[in-house]
Symmetry: C2
Subunit: 237 residues, 2 copies
């Protein structure tokens, strides 16, 4: 039976910072840990979102692709969806939305997911263009990102909230990806002006943190010289 | 089937810092995640070590007790033992031992456990005396610790190594507890001069981090004001 109290994570955000971008988990493996999720492909190959067991990618050219089982990732989250309705919102801006969610959730000290279905105004997303080995650092690779905007689009946002204690392993605070209902627009959310729709909530009591121990570059890397927290927040925050 | 690649952790070291010392997991629950482990009881009630499925406690008076299933803990680790022999050591001091283990393991960036069976010279351990609610901070409670020393004692050391990225959630570096073969001496290891015996090693690719989400004090605590990393290393390092 699937355990809906568990958030699965492969890799850490910290490993992206020095450019450890090898794909170390297949999509087939990730989907064994959930039917809902977010992530990125080998070499920061786009922005991923998994909805109802289907993995979508916004690639660096702005195209939405459905991914196959063999697609590999350096970093991803997944969980089995069991969201409960939290609130309806109308024309709420992003800051107010996050405040209201934090207050309603009262779950700052644990991991949880937020799902929003609705219409977003003036939304901007980004997707990184895939790099090949040898990889640059995250800050260099992230320069090769494209941004995409829509005046108004209806779709689904999946967000994970991580406690600040786990900043570096995950993104402390919220990390949100989006996909439009017509599957033409998506990516890592940079900003939106407002949203009208339904907010639902799922709390976890367990983080299942899986590390790429078979990857020599990861195991041999000296993380003590990386500026992890700052670089993670510049690129992902 | 038990998965020997998983290190289970209940609670975080960070929650001990402000004195969130309620017992939030029973020994019965902990033993479902492993036959080997370390931890502390509610109110920092002594130093625990689990060997072959039997949980032992060195209490604040220096007495060794076998714990029952209902005993509760704010923080503990466990895993299913599947150690492989790493090396034999003879009269090696603690610093040289840690260096040799780090080199042989080459696992700085993941979680692993070390088990040492052998004879320790001039070993000093400590155990904290149980506090009652309302709890003081870790640094205050840790003042109520007793230390215990032996010129020479034969027994088992269980140690967990955590990557520095997880400092605060766990103790970055090694965290070691001890129990003598005659079950008369044990605790959290502060120091030893040398050890002669067998070192074995078990690497994990997954940390299963379980948080006490049913505990209101934990969920409502504002961790932003705690000096977590320093206090963890002063008390546990």
């Amino acid at each position: 039976m699937s355990n809906t109290n568990i958030l699965y994570q492969h890799g850490t955000l910290a490993l992206l910072v020095p450019g450890l971008l090898d794909g170390t988990l297949t999509m087939n493996e990730l989907l064994q840990h959930g039917d809902t999720g977010i992530g990125t492909g080998e070499g920061l190959d786009g922005e991923l979102i998994i909805l109802n067991g289907t993995p979508y990618q916004l690639d660096g050219d702005g195209k939405i692709n459905i991914l196959n089982d063999e697609f590999t990732m350096p970093f991803a989250n997944s969980h089995f969806a069991d969201y409960a309705e939290m609130m309806e919102v109308e024309d709420i801006n992003r800051d107010d939305l996050q405040s209201q969610i934090k207050e309603a959730a009262n779950s700052t000290n644990t991991f949880f997911s937020i799902k929003i279905t609705g219409t977003f105004k003036n939304i901007t997303t980004r997707a990184v263009r895939k790099s090949s080995a040898p990889y640059d650092s995250l800050s260099k690779t992230a320069e090769k990102q494209n941004t995409f905007s829509k005046d108004s689009v209806t779709g689904t946002l999946i967000s994970y909230h991580s406690p600040s204690l786990f900043d570096g392993a995950a993104v402390g605070g919220f990390h949100s990806h989006f996909l439009s209902d017509d599957r033409s627009f998506g990516g890592h959310i940079l900003s939106f002006d407002s949203v009208t729709g339904s907010v639902s909530f799922q709390q976890f009591d367990t983080l299942e943190q899986h590390l790429p121990t078979a990857n020599k570059e990861y195991m041999n890397h000296d993380f003590s010289k990386d500026n992890i927290i700052d670089d993670v927040h510049n690129a992902e925050g």
